[in-house]
Symmetry: C2
Amino acid sequence: MTKVIDITELILRDGHQSLLATRMAMEDMIPACEDIDKAGFWSAECWGGATFDACIRFLNEDPWERLRTFRKLMPNTRLQMLLRGQNLLGYRHYEDTVVDRFVEKAAANGMDVFRVFDALNDIRNIRRAVAAVQRAGKHAQGTICYTVSPLHTITGFVEMAERLLELGCDSICIKDMAALLKPQPAYDLVKAIKQACGEETRVHVHVHATTGVTMVSLMKAIEAGADCVDTSISSLSLGPGHNPTESLMEMLEGTPYSTRVDKKRLLAIKRHFDKIRPRYKEFLSNITGVDTEIFDSQIPGGMISNLESQLKQQKAGDRMKEVLEEVPRVREDAGFPPLVTPSSQIIGTQAVFNVMMGRYKVMTGEFADLMLGYYGETLGRRNRHVVEMANKQTNKQPIDTRPADLLKPEWQELRSAALAVDGCNGSDEDVLTYAMFPGVAPKFFPARAKGPKNLGKDPSSAPAPAPAPAPAAENGKGPVTTTITYDVKLNGHTHKVTVSPA
Amino acid sequence: MTKVIDITELILRDGHQSLLATRMAMEDMIPACEDIDKAGFWSAECWGGATFDACIRFLNEDPWERLRTFRKLMPNTRLQMLLRGQNLLGYRHYEDTVVDRFVEKAAANGMDVFRVFDALNDIRNIRRAVAAVQRAGKHAQGTICYTVSPLHTITGFVEMAERLLELGCDSICIKDMAALLKPQPAYDLVKAIKQACGEETRVHVHVHATTGVTMVSLMKAIEAGADCVDTSISSLSLGPGHNPTESLMEMLEGTPYSTRVDKKRLLAIKRHFDKIRPRYKEFLSNITGVDTEIFDSQIPGGMISNLESQLKQQKAGDRMKEVLEEVPRVREDAGFPPLVTPSSQIIGTQAVFNVMMGRYKVMTGEFADLMLGYYGETLGRRNRHVVEMANKQTNKQPIDTRPADLLKPEWQELRSAALAVDGCNGSDEDVLTYAMFPGVAPKFFPARAKGPKNLGKDPSSAPAPAPAPAPAAENGKGPVTTTITYDVKLNGHTHKVTVSPA
């Protein structure tokens, strides 16, 4: 008798988000749905912030319709989404009733499993969403963003797991978005959670493949008692993506563990995306191998390319080394947040500002907010002097309450604004789309009737391949969002600074 | 206190052989040698059949000079080579004194570690070379070619290890050229060898990355007591190549194991080959992800593309499925040899012949030799009927003696023939080059004075990239050798069949 290890298949969300800049059209996923549904996965991750964003920004596709289609095509498999806690799928904090409404609507449209995380691991930003998931009778998965710093310890992560379970979470996810989770810590962390919270606590492990060690980490997590691991079908795996599903299955042969996935279905899924992949060549991540430098720099590869392009736009490409040295300092000043969207962009951009204009002489609004507590609490204490500077530059007061506590009920206001947009169909779903992407929805709603666009190109009809484009994704995983260019004046001199929105 | 795990760095041989079709010029390796020498590797693999072949066939470079240069540039690191037992670096059996001479000269020119294998795991084909290595006072590593079949068992492999140690081998290598070694068998095999042969028996593990599971297999092998593992620097790793050196090192953090490699040196080596890699784009393997189908088909990916191109040349591309089903049958009839150069080509080509012309109606000379024992003994009994057919078609008798026992002393003859070649410098090294590559040496010797060619191209000056070429390497790992076209007559009808030389 072997212990059955469950698998969450990522291809429909994080797989193509990490490798194809989230550009895959629904049309190219539909033919694989039956095989995915019947392959025996515990869940199919298929929805999240970046896929929602890409749907309306690039694909002229209604993300709610996408969800309903998945539901129809995959009646036997749990559908799973990644939810940014109080930020929902957007980039700011939403007032509680908006959170409630979103979760209710996602559940009503077919979502089963809500993986809820907060970029700062501030549990207060997770609480409301988890309660809403419970009310909807769905599976609430509390998430620990794994990171490495002088302050992050196994003990600290276990305490977070305990607090997530106190909220009523049905399972715990260890989310290693930067591929930092090495085998021994993976073992120790899963083991410690099981010991502290009980063997019956379901532990899911999500890792990326970037550093080349995390397949081993999955093995060790399984040995320590992990119940479910995340993988992506091999034809869209590795690099900044994930470990291959088929390899995970094969890896367990002869061990005390097994999976219940159907090899023939896996092969069919693999072959389908193997055919689809070349159509998205222009979006394909140009990171293909492994990168272990992040273990020392703590700076994800995608973030480095982001910084490089910011510096180049300012004709300061030669100052990269200073910026790379500045990032860990800024992260320390900010209380060692995990580097994940949006904190990675906020920290990175501030490091560029510091190098270009003097340390904290000019802060981005987002960095000031981070220092003043408007994103939530960080594990480390934030540098008092920098907090004071943020306070002076913005005239905003530091807070220690839950950020969303400061927000007034906003549903009616959002609803009115959404309804005023040409093409809005008046549904709560459309209001939520508008609420989360107020800059994009007004372009999407009126164009919606034209139907989805497929950005994939038949490789044979494509022109001679251009040099690989700069990685479109933030950290190799976010959506390509519009960038904002600031005109920053300092000593009468204007600097153009381009920043990806947090 | 942790146990130190040694590393053999593969970049100078199997790394670029597996990923760049063995085309890397010495000039592009030289700048990395100091860092490799000082990185703390147990050994640097830098010489073998394919690199020797590619030197004289494509690079107009004297492989002996390459070896001497490595010796000069890496005084602190063991130099390691892969030796095909009685076949040396060629494709036929050599008479014993030629084997002796080759090993003596390789040692004299700087080789430290001889990894000796036989494609059929016939220990009689390994014996003489091991004795010669011992006489030269160098490290003889006896090699087990790992494969999977109904007959191959842990017990059988352990017996082979015992016999290799009886020959006086200084260490045992488990060589998994097709990435078939899963984690649990890796653990079991290493553990069983240590238990049977003593903990002090050095066990080295060589795996490819193709199937995506072997990084975990390395971890398990280490847990079972493996002393040294083979990896390649990350910028030339993965796909049909190997697991990345840096990832291996990082993987062990916090475990009871560690390495003694220097991270800064690894980074320098990585960056160097990261720069070099794009220059060889046209030779780069087009297999980048993982392939787990081989676990079921037993047919390595590179062998499949070989079969495909053979079928296409005969306008029979639609018969691939039959051929894929025929391969395991032919392998069984041949006594379940491991599928590695040259047995993979011999089996594959015969499967094509069987499908095209009727089962064993026409045999290649190589397949007949294999059936008749001229390559040595296989683990399984060979199909008696097929042996009889081979006997009839070739008029050669089946043998059960060691193949090289049939050979008469041939050094003088080889020497005379080599000296007759324009440009031969009369050294034993030149005679050996001629002996192993009699078809190529006569072109190389007269051209040698022109100096080495570098097939790498500055990516910016290169024309628009062409569609990825068919994989140049056999099984993604061999050199591109000239192919032989047979005119096969059957019922008055002539078939053109192209075969890669065995």
